[in-house]
Symmetry: C2
Subunit: 194 residues, 2 copies
């Protein structure tokens, strides 16, 4: 059965654990699914690897990617650029390979305009309090930045209805199982078949 | 999170293995999912148990259920009545418990009219040849009946586009995993949440 690839988008508020879930998900080999690495100007966090987690770049290079139309979407999130290289995503979908994006909410909504057929998964924290705790525990953001992120959360959750699925990240393995189930189910959708 | 139950309908051509998949699926306990037992006038097959696989009944009793409006849908399939008792399904959905039906294609399409929000899963054989083999191997139908069933298959497959999902039953465990993934995914759907 030949079909185009499906675009899966994992998104949600900052600190919810999107990156952890995506990393865990990609640990189990799935030949039909490939992760689209984002470009960013933010500094690598401990443990993050260039070309696996992100393409880390400077603002000047990033702006030249924008200028030459090489990004599917880009956004400024907490004073850093984030963007999705276009060619990689389009080439794989064309070959029938499913592509996974892990992006912030602004980016996901832009992608939804361009790919209404994509599968949009919103990762929810068990509660706002828990989100605050996680941002603190991560120890990667200043107190001011954490407060800014929590303030954004209320606005971000308002976009939930634009997503197809919601997965609460109360337990990493449970949440990954749910994301995997969503991927399996979407591959069985009649409307995606020829 | 309180929500209404989801109606899951497993359906497909005769001989495709719907009953085997349903039986296997229900072996793993899932508190939130209950199987709706159909009523039928066909004779029990070896191994089938009254009140677990079907409510076996005679034509007269079945016709009184029809007359008193106690069936959600009913159909005559290969000269036997099959039907879905209404109260059981409605009560459980109201309580927020998901309900699983396993019915023929005629029945599924009637249910779809009444429950457009239900989840309709079409079970496909790996091929028509394989379907013929399985009907023969089952040894429960006369040669004439097998030919009648295969002739129906072409008409039945034309209804595939009215279903949400298609699962090929090439391997029972794989097919059950896919059905389970569909159930998990549908429970994560944003549009089903309050």
């Amino acid at each position: 059965m030949s079909r185009k690839g499906i675009l899966f988008v994992i998104s949600g508020p900052s600190g919810v654990g999107k990156g952890t879930l995506r990393g865990k998900l990609m640990e189990t080999p799935d030949e039909g699914l490939i992760y689209s690495i984002s470009a960013t100007t933010r500094k690598p966090r401990p443990g993050e690897i260039e070309g696996r987690d992100y393409f880390f770049t400077d603002a000047e290079t990033f702006e030249s990617l924008i200028a030459s139309g090489e990004l599917l979407e880009w956004a400024v999130v907490y004073n850093n650029y984030y963007g999705t290289p276009k060619k990689f995503v389009l080439d794989n979908l064309e070959k029938g390979i499913d592509v996974l994006l892990e992006i912030d909410i602004q980016g996901a909504l832009k992608i939804k305009n361009a790919f209404p057929d994509g599968v949009f998964i919103f990762i929810l924290p068990p509660s706002v309090e828990e989100l605050g705790k996680r941002l603190n525990a991560r120890g990667k953001d200043s107190q001011l930045e954490i407060e800014r992120r929590l303030a954004c959360y209320e606005q971000e959750i308002a976009h939930l209805h634009q997503y197809d699925y919601a997965v609460v990240n109360d337990n990493v393995l449970d949440a990954v199982d749910k994301i995997r189930a969503i991927i399996t189910a979407e591959r069985c959708r009649v409307r995606r078949m020829q």
